[in-house]
Symmetry: C2
């Protein structure tokens, strides 16, 4: 028969079993941490009506979208989790309880140019809190504190959550009478880390027609840095001149105060006036997160405060704050930087290996072991002993339970620790408890090893 070459599309991540298990550990940690803070899980369709998904319209995103017709329906694959959230909240407004706290971990699609580390299908892991009409600023501190906790539980150490407030920037540009250009300026200043201050100054002067003195003031302002206390003190010197600025500075003070109280250590967050986030959508606090050992990777988690989640669908005022982890890209980067744990992730805790023709005892033992919550795989194939042990080695199971004529006659089982080679003979009724006890002694492994 003519064969079709089995292949996976480029730009689509498909992992081998052990890599997949590591990826799933990361996703499960995020799910657990998000749940600890009272977020509810959502799952929205991957396909939406194009008119719904593209209600906002325009922009880079629209060109990248997977859009097609089926029958006479104009359909699109979601390109983020925010637009489906806006649709969901607008549609179910009367049935939801506000503040509505949801997380969603799901795949999104962007037909980007294929390139190493760029994905066309990728997971995003989002949390958002949506208010009905109003939303307390405390959420703007809680959201990054959740990210701090999630990354820490994953095993990430050297990262900093950079916090800024768009009102501080907008207010400052108003002081310079550049309010009409604030969007353009923010997008230009956003490039600071990539292209450096000289080029940013040149762009401000040449492309935006801002005069040299003001361009220098902008650069001086955005270069304000130091500890959170120092930055806030330096910003204080600008206060009293512009209402928007003062409001933003007050928010920044509140957010950083609560960030500490939520338990984020001083070394894991910073006020960074260069952060603006490109999107006009954000109206207050904004975040980016960088790995200090790999700044070249850019932000691994971004978001902020917005005032109007679902204006394209409803007149209801729905302010919110959210943050998103590009999970597929993060996993790729961690793997690429060799930061994933090397510890074995086996599909089973113990492989039960029968050494007799009749498998009844091995079946019963496997069932009993599972009764103790231990993941047990029964090896039921009729192979030589060596092949069975090779199988156990390749799966990297921590334990093997051997059941031969001798063991059965004695009502025992031989349990081998595959790492140390140590073998113990245990009564068959004690085996489940023995294994559960041994496994409980092993230290929990974090998926990231930094």
């Amino acid at each position: 028969m003519e064969k079709v070459r089995p292949h996976t599309l480029s730009g689509f991540m498909e992992l081998l079993p052990e890599e997949q298990a590591r990826f799933d550990q990361i996703a499960a940690t995020l799910r657990r941490v998000y749940s600890l803070y009272g977020f509810t899980a959502l799952d929205t369709p991957l396909i939406e009506a194009s008119e719904v998904l593209l209600a906002k319209g325009g922009g880079e995103t629209e060109k990248q979208i997977y859009r097609f017709t089926k029958g006479d329906s104009d359909l699109s694959l979601r390109f983020d989790l925010t637009v489906p959230l806006a649709k969901y909240v607008a549609m179910n407004y009367s049935k939801l309880t506000f503040p509505f706290r949801r997380f969603q971990i799901g795949k999104v699609y962007r037909g980007e140019r294929a390139q190493r580390g760029r994905f066309r299908e990728f997971y995003q892991a989002d949390i958002d809190v949506i208010g009905d009409g109003s939303l307390s600023i405390i959420n703007e501190a809680e959201i990054p504190s959740i990210i701090y906790r999630a990354f820490t539980e994953l095993g990430l150490r050297n990262f900093v959550i950079r916090v800024n407030n768009r009102k501080v920037l907008t207010g400052f540009y108003e002081m310079l009478e550049l309010q009409d250009r604030s969007g353009d300026i923010m997008r230009t200043v956003d490039k600071l880390e990539k292209i450096g201050p000289e080029k940013v100054e040149a762009l401000l002067v040449d492309d935006l027609g801002i005069d040299k003195a003001k361009a220098r003031e902008i650069l001086d302002f955005t270069s304000i840095s130091g500890s959170t206390y120092q930055v806030l003190a330096l910003l204080e010197e600008f206060s009293g001149r512009n209402g928007t600025f003062d409001a933003g500075l007050s928010e920044l003070k509140t957010v950083t105060k609560y960030l500490r109280e939520f338990g984020v250590p001083e070394e894991n967050f910073t006020v960074d006036l260069t952060i603006a986030r490109g999107l006009d959508y954000y109206t207050g606090t904004v975040y980016e997160t960088v790995m200090l050992s790999h700044p070249e990777v850019g932000s691994i988690c971004s978001g902020g405060r917005y005032d109007d989640l679902a204006g394209y669908y409803t007149d209801k005022k729905l302010p919110g704050v959210g943050i998103s982890i590009g999970l597929t890209r993060l996993f790729f980067v961690l793997s690429d930087c060799d930061m994933l744990s090397k510890e074995a992730v086996s599909p089973a805790d113990v492989l039960v290996i029968p050494m007799t023709g009749d498998l009844s005892h091995a079946v019963a033992l496997s069932t009993a072991i599972r009764g103790a919550g231990v993941r047990a795989q029964l090896y039921g194939e009729d192979k030589k002993f060596k092949a069975k042990m090779t199988y156990a080695d390749r799966l990297r199971v921590p334990y093997v339970a051997l059941l031969g004529e001798d063991e059965i006659a004695d009502g025992q089982v031989s349990i081998k620790d595959m790492a140390t080679g140590a073998q113990a003979r245990v009564g068959i009724l004690e085996a489940p408890g023995y294994l559960a006890g041994e496994l409980a002694k092993r230290p929990a492994v974090q998926p990231i090893d930094e």
Copy 2:
């Protein structure tokens, strides 16, 4: 601004938060049970090259497929999890360890006619064991025993896994010299439950041109029923006349023997000679699962043994056995039959309600509670006390932790059990342990209440 009507496409299930939590409980139970038996999780792309996905070609499925072009790529959304598995195993053959045991819970797409209870996007939850060249028959008993355990842990009680063997049927048709028609006959007999024996006999005689006596013999044969022992004893009377039949009967005996040893009670499985599964793909043991209280629903979990998983991609012989739960449809049916648990599923175990302007103490308390593994949501909005309690009611949280001036002054917190109304005053340092203890006393809730 002109608004776009927010809506979700028909045939796409999108759940409200509490329904979603119930759905996720079911999916999590399946994941836990599959993992307990040493299955590894896979996650393959939703989009594949059409030539890969449709290598087998033809049939009903092809008409229903979501197929489109992006750039010059001909793409399709997966319509099941078996074809992607075949691709994956063929592609990664040298990197996998056989028998390869994988589970996958993921969305698939079929553009069926929109109809109540029919979905265009739906979850399948599959387990398969793939051998390299050969695969022990014990897997054919283990697979349904896993399904038994999964359904039981979900809370389902009155269900029966119907087991048959295609070789028994093929062998019997060979005895009748109807081997050329066995595919057609099986597809016709498959309709027994739907249309009854008279109509099946009519179809056999009129449409397939089988003579009346043989049609009657077929119906007599497929109507053999009773306990597993009785059915096997009656089948024994046909043995010695056809090799295929004898092989099938021997397999059926082995599978039912091991099913018992794997712990499946007699009342939860049966040998049913009417089960054939439409697909030619299956070569031995086949399964269907029915809810006895709702037989009209049809099979909620089906599968079987196959000899050639990936023949379209590779010359390697890859026999396997697998089973699939149509999870979205099952959830719809359970909800429709009012079989889902009514117990609250709250996004948090406790809502921390500050009754002071400064939230610092409430923040610290929330963090401490989470440290004990208890899901705590901080209510940070500036609302009246009544609004805060209404919020707690609507979220159906089991506990509320109230923190006012009095409590703070005394170093205490008032914890209210929302179900009983009972209120306890607990030292602020004891609160996390107290809540964890109270929650541990609550019985575990199964998602299905039968």
